[in-house]
Symmetry: C2
């Protein structure tokens, strides 16, 4: 029997990359770390993402247990995407990216003044 | 005149994602954080990467100033890829991914025993 342990890469970085190693997943995660989002909101917020790419990324993240899809029985129906506890535990990764990006932008400003 | 500052995304996470937001770039960076690597070594080490995907990723990282390509005038010529200071400064991002991957693997083992 193949267990979860068997199918995970040996390298811990590769494990993480297999779950969120794409531009779209990283940007979705950045948004969901703040609050739950609706599909259309996400699509408007993430520049250049197609409906298909967003659908694919969200389904993959849901299958991996990072993202939770909640449908509220309203009229019209409301669907929200939020992070699971597992997804939430990835916050330090996005924080490290945020910190690096801030330093890089500050450096770019200094170089031009 | 468009400056570097103008073309960077507002969001610092998006800045970082624009530089290393892909599966291959993240895995290349993981390798180069240890030592310089040759092209063929990298290709063997990163499971599933095609020659074209590796070439494209390395060129893009070189153009972004993250990776340095050094050709040694030997016979046969030797070419090595290493991180620049800018690339090296991304270490905390990969470390955060490594740490998360280790926790995830440990959890997977616990769930199966």
């Amino acid at each position: 029997m193949r267990t979860k342990e068997d199918i995970l890469p040996d390298c811990p970085v590769a494990v993480t990359v297999s779950l969120i190693g794409s531009k779209w997943k990283l940007l979705i995660m950045r948004n969901l770390l703040g609050r739950p989002w609706r599909f259309n909101e996400l699509q408007k917020s993430i520049e250049g993402i197609s409906q298909k790419a967003l659908t694919d990324a969200l389904r993959s993240m849901e299958a991996d247990g990072i993202v939770r899809r909640t449908a509220y029985p309203e009229v019209p129906p409301r669907v929200e995407y939020s992070l699971t506890e597992l997804g939430e535990s990835m916050r330090p990764i996005i924080k490290a990216m945020e910190s690096w990006g801030n330093d890089f932008k500050a450096q770019a400003v200094r170089e031009e003044t």
